[in-house]
């Protein structure tokens, strides 16, 4: 995959950098600027922006991308602000919920860009024009392919990649080294429907659903001594070498088509080999503080799961394990989303979120729908607060972040215009925040995806086949 990169020379070849990988954790001086030491770093020309420690020669600031999504859209009258671009006043969905110990997005008003007039054209052209497409195509901007009038089980296909994966590849190329984790897709439960992250072939990136699983992935090795880590690294290389030998040997006996398939697997194995050489530079938190909530995330423990996963996401970013993460908390459609902690009934007919969202005709349901959206937005506000609580350089971790919050529909009756999209964070000064941007007419959200890539220093002008060559979203970037 090649990227249109706006500035700087081609980064170092992987091998050159990796040769020093055994001591990278200690060797690269600027890594001390993150992790747990947090001395003052240099101040870049951008607002509190740090130079990318892995590519200091690139003179690019360190930036991170987070995508999240709230289910079942919003009640528009309680979402879109009043007022103009900079003097806007937020509406109730952005208010805090003190009884749930949740802040509101309004608290971060000056760090937000609230958008109106963005159209999920990709979903509007899908086979079912429903939550599946709305959610899965949020970051791909591509049209889901499938027989019309069918459900996803009929065998839909999706062309990727999603923005987070594309961006992660670009950031790794820019940095010249792989990150310990290319990206962090946090989704409760693995399913085609639930994932926002897809590779170029439309294969869903395997998601992270378990708190202990993610903890183990991030920090399972940090309790090991340096000698133990090295022994594990060598052991994994030994095992993978044998495995690679097995594939290569079999490949030699196959015809051209099968040879090519196995070559793909070999490529994947080689990338795994590189990735196991990367180090995670962080003191591990106490594992006992990160258990899997009983009954996981599907029951009343969703908040516990969300809190723990957010903490781990923040840790992963602050330790530079990865720079790209997605997180969502509940699947949107499907009729199994109960929110008893909000006082919603356990009866399917009167308490299931998706069911209620379809009663758009009856305003009697608005308070419940507003409360649900407010709760999910409170989780986003909480995440922003956690990012702001991590010092980095002369500012905080949040300074480098652009967070995108989407939804799988605009409103419960599967509308696609005026998607309730917002951005939070400037990405080290790439984005001017504290704004309410209204588009002059409905613009396909591919333009937003393009703008996000441009905010990360890429010069793409097209992303996703729903609206090829869309160019950026007018007025979003300077």
């Amino acid at each position: 995959m090649s990227f249109a990169i706006r500035r700087f020379a081609r980064p170092l070849a992987r091998r050159e950098v990796l040769r020093g990988m055994g001591s990278i954790a200690i060797g690269l001086p600027l890594l001390e600027a993150m992790g747990c030491d947090r001395p003052d770093g240099g101040v870049s020309p951008r607002v509190a922006g740090l130079a990318d420690p892995r590519a200091p020669q690139a003179a690019l600031p360190l930036q991170r991308f987070i995508a999240t999504s709230i289910p079942n859209g919003v009640v528009p009258s309680a979402w879109f602000p009043t007022g103009g671009e900079t003097d806007f006043v937020t509406k109730p969905i952005m208010d805090p919920l003190p009884e749930h110990a949740l802040p509101g997005l309004a608290e971060h008003r000056d760090d937000l860009v609230i958008l109106k007039g963005v159209w999920h054209k990709a979903a509007s052209l899908g086979p079912e024009k429903s939550h599946n497409e709305g959610h899965s195509c949020t970051l791909t901007g591509t049209i889901m392919q499938g027989p019309p009038g069918t459900t996803v089980d009929a065998g839909w296909t999706l062309v990727g990649p999603s923005l987070d994966q594309y961006l992660a590849d670009a950031l790794e190329q820019i940095a010249g080294v792989p990150f310990a984790k290319k990206s962090l897709p946090i989704v409760p439960g693995a399913s085609f429907n639930g994932s926002m992250s897809y590779d170029a072939q439309g294969t869903a990136i395997p998601v992270v659903s378990s708190v202990t699983g993610l903890f183990d992935e991030l920090f399972g090795l940090t309790s090991l001594s340096a000698a133990e880590k090295e022994a594990l690294r060598l052991r994994r290389h030994s095992v993978l070498d044998s495995v690679l030998g097995n594939y290569t040997k079999l490949q030699g006996r196959l015809g051209a088509g099968d040879k090519a398939r196995l070559e793909e697997h070999l490529d994947a194995l080689r990338k795994v080999e590189q990735r196991i050489d990367t180090e995670i530079v962080c003191d591990a938190p106490d594992a006992a503080a990160y258990p899997d909530p009983p009954e996981g995330f599907s029951g009343p423990n969703l908040r516990d799961w969300a809190d723990l996963m957010q903490d781990l996401l923040v840790l992963a970013l602050s330790c530079d394990v990865t720079r790209v993460a997605t997180i969502s908390y509940r699947y949107c459609g499907g009729g199994s989303s109960y929110l008893p902690w909000l006082g919603f009934s356990a009866d399917y007919d009167t308490g299931e979120h998706h069911e209620m969202s379809h009663r758009y005709m009856d305003p009697a349901w608005d308070p419940a729908l507003i409360l649900a959206a407010q709760w999910y937005c409170g989780l986003t506000a909480q995440l922003i607060g956690k990012l702001k609580a991590v010092p980095e350089g002369t500012g905080t971790l949040f300074d480098s972040v652009i967070l995108f919050q989407g939804s799988d529909v605009a409103t419960g009756h599967h509308t696609w215009e005026d998607m309730p999209y917002l951005l939070a964070g400037s990405g080290a000064g790439a984005l001017a925040t504290g704004r309410y941007l209204q588009m002059p007419q409905q613009i396909p959200h591919n333009a937003l995806l393009v703008s996000l890539l441009q905010a990360f220093g890429l010069s793409d002008t097209s992303f996703g086949d729903a609206e090829p060559d869309s160019g950026p979203l007018p007025g979003l970037l300077g």
């Binding site: 052209l125 086979p127 392919q145 027989p147 019309p148 009038g149 069918t150 459900t151 996803v152 089980d153 009929a154 065998g155 839909w156 296909t157 062309v159 290319k182 693995a190 399913s191 085609f192 590779d199 072939q201 439309g202 294969t203 869903a204 990136i205 395997p206 998601v207 378990s210 699983g213 992935e217 052991r235 994994r236 095992v239 993978l240 495995v243 030998g245 097995n246 594939y247 079999l250 006996r253 196959l254 015809g255 051209a256 088509g257 099968d258 398939r261 196995l262 793909e264 697997h265 994947a268 990338k271 795994v272 990735r275 459609g333 499907g334 009729g335 399917y348 007919d349 998706h354 086949d465």
Partner: protein, 561 residues
């Protein structure tokens, strides 16, 4: 390159061959109601890539298998295999693997089996976790005296390798794994390393088929007995070969149809075969979606729990028909079904008094006919409050008749006219018939959907729709059994008599069994043989499965450059 790369956004790759101007401007006359031979054979291009006139191939006297790209274990197959190889605790470790993303109808389709770096990493972690789980009791695992050191390790490695890779391992392979064991910190650590390598290897995750190249005949290479054992066990049981199959392979008894038949008879009697049969049919008709199908709770309050029983109902029906010696006609027309107390009450039937247990009941045959009148199929073909004739019709057209309606033009937003109190569901779709921009395509499937109008959104029989009499009549167009029908049972009778439907079923079973869509050119000998066998067996469904295992394509692969 991988098939999945050639996904161009086309749908399931079915050849479009229906009469009518709605396919890419093919200027055929609209159906006159009489399907000519060309139309029939065109319509037989089901579940296939590439059109064909379907003519009898020139020479099928020597084996002419179609392509057999190397296949990877599906998630389900992997779970089953790990259980059989190392026990259920080991299989639990596989829970951390991501679910396959299903790109086609069947989970076996290699189009769904792309590999990502993350997946390869997940396989590594899986192998590590399985190795730990499997070595909680090392002496029990290896079955020899650990104190003997390398001698015992070699014995274990030889056994594990051959079972996991489903064929004897060479001396070099065993030596290599023993060397890996020897590099371990201790006996147990060495065993773990061996398990990790064995489970990540291509010989485990994929199903290589090299065959006996020396014995090739006209470019067709006979598979060896181990490879046939693997094909049999994954086709019929979704898991690795059992000891009896492996013994037959070791005796090289599976290269001839007789040896295969002996095993197949035994295997079809095993409960795992029933699971596979159900799994195939559920995917074929999209019935797995029933458990996530949602209905308006005000209209169908019990549906949310009834839908689970509906899945079991269809499963038991299919299993009983297929493994009970039934034929395609039974599958499509039998008025029997299986209900427990809850489901019987939901359908408004006499409650059998069996509690949660399912019992067979007979329904009125003028109303209920086969799998298409089961609640699962009907409810999936419905919106939350109303039936969806378009969805039901399209599903039957695509999955049962292997027709391929073109997608709607991009500027049609596809909004369903809202229900009103003065019309039936059918009448709401009048515009599909009256507007020429719609009718060219919609007359191919709406009428099929109307056949089911006596079933509401939740799959229950109704005499009235919105208080009005139901009109379930229609005309089949563009098929080999065109003509008028009234009601689902009459439609089912037509379908049961249709060569097109028979060929379509064969093609779907082929796709499931082979991990790819039928190629009517490359698979011509195979499909024509299967169709003949199917007919000779009066369309017995289990007979078709047997015929699949007896075909040349099952025992040979073609040599690839």
């Amino acid at each position: 390159m991988l098939d999945s790369r050639s996904r161009t956004g086309a749908t399931l790759g079915f050849a479009v061959a229906l009469v009518g101007a709605c396919y890419d401007g093919v200027a055929d006359d609209p159906a006159s109601g009489e399907a000519g031979e060309g139309a029939t054979e065109g319509a037989l291009d089901s579940a296939s890539e590439g059109a064909s006139d379907g003519a009898e191939p020139a020479d099928c006297d020597t084996p002419q298998p179609g392509p057999a790209p190397i296949r990877r274990l599906t998630r389900r197959e992997l779970d089953n295999t790990l259980t059989d190889l190392l026990g259920p605790d080991a299989a639990l470790a596989a829970a951390m693997l991501p679910t396959d993303v299903q790109a086609r109808i069947f989970d076996t389709d290699i189009a769904s089996h792309g590999i990502t770096e993350e997946l390869a990493y997940a396989y590594m972690r899986l192998a590590e976790d399985v190795a730990v789980a499997a070595t909680t009791d090392v002496p029990a695992l290896v079955g020899c005296d650990v104190a003997q050191g390398e001698a015992c390790a070699r014995e274990f490695v030889t056994s594990l390798c051959s079972r996991a890779w489903r064929r004897p391992c060479s001396a070099d392979e065993v030596d290599g794994l023993v060397a890996l064991w020897a590099a371990g910190d201790d006996f147990a650590d060495g065993v773990q390393r061996v398990i990790e390598v064995v489970l990540q290897s291509a010989d485990f995750l994929y199903r290589p088929e090299l065959g006996d190249i020396v014995a090739a005949v006209d470019g067709a290479v006979p598979l060896d007995s181990y490879e046939i054992a693997t094909r049999l066990s994954y086709l019929l049981w979704g898991t690795m070969p059992d000891d009896e199959l492996l013994a037959a392979a070791e005796a090289d008894a599976l290269r001839d149809p007789g040896g295969i038949a002996t095993q197949v008879d035994r295997m079809l009697d095993d409960p795992r075969a029933a699971e596979q049969v159900v799994w195939f049919h559920e995917q074929w008709l999209g019935l797995t979606a029933i458990e996530s199908t949602v209905k308006d709770p005000a209209l169908f309050p019990e549906f949310a729990t009834a839908r689970v029983a509906m899945r079991a109902e269809s499963a038991r029906f299919v299993e009983a028909v297929v493994l009970g010696g039934g034929d395609l006609g039974d599958l499509l027309m039998s008025p029997s079904t299986y209900v427990n107390d809850e489901l019987a009450a939901f359908y408004g039937l006499a409650v059998p008094g069996s509690g949660g247990e399912f019992v067979e009941v007979q329904l009125p045959p003028d109303r209920h006919a086969g799998v298409l009148t089961k609640g699962a199929f009907l409810a999936i073909g419905g919106n939350q409050a109303s039936s969806s004739p378009v969805r039901r019709g399209v599903t039957v057209l695509r999955q049962v008749l292997c027709g391929e309606p073109a997608p709607p033009p991009p500027d049609v937003m596809g909004s369903v006219p809202p229900p009103t109190p003065d019309t039936t569901t059918r009448e709401r779709f009048e515009v599909h018939v009256s507007d020429p921009a719609c009718s060219a395509c919609h007359t191919l499937f709406d009428p099929i959907g109307f056949a089911f109008e006596h079933f509401d959104a939740a799959g229950r029989w109704r005499d009235l729709d919105n208080g009005f009499a139901v009109d379930a009549s229609g005309d089949l167009i563009g098929t080999d059994v065109d003509g008028a029908f009234d009601g689902a049972a009459a439609l089912a009778a037509k379908l049961a008599d249709s060569e097109q439907v028979r060929g379509c079923y064969v093609d779907h079973l082929f796709a499931f069994a082979n991990g790819r869509l039928v190629d009517h050119d490359a698979d011509a000998c195979t499909t024509s043989a299967l169709r003949s066998e199917f007919a000779a067996a009066d369309y017995g469904l289990a007979d078709l499965v047997v015929a699949l295992t007896q075909s040349d394509a099952f025992r040979y692969r073609r040599s690839e450059p």
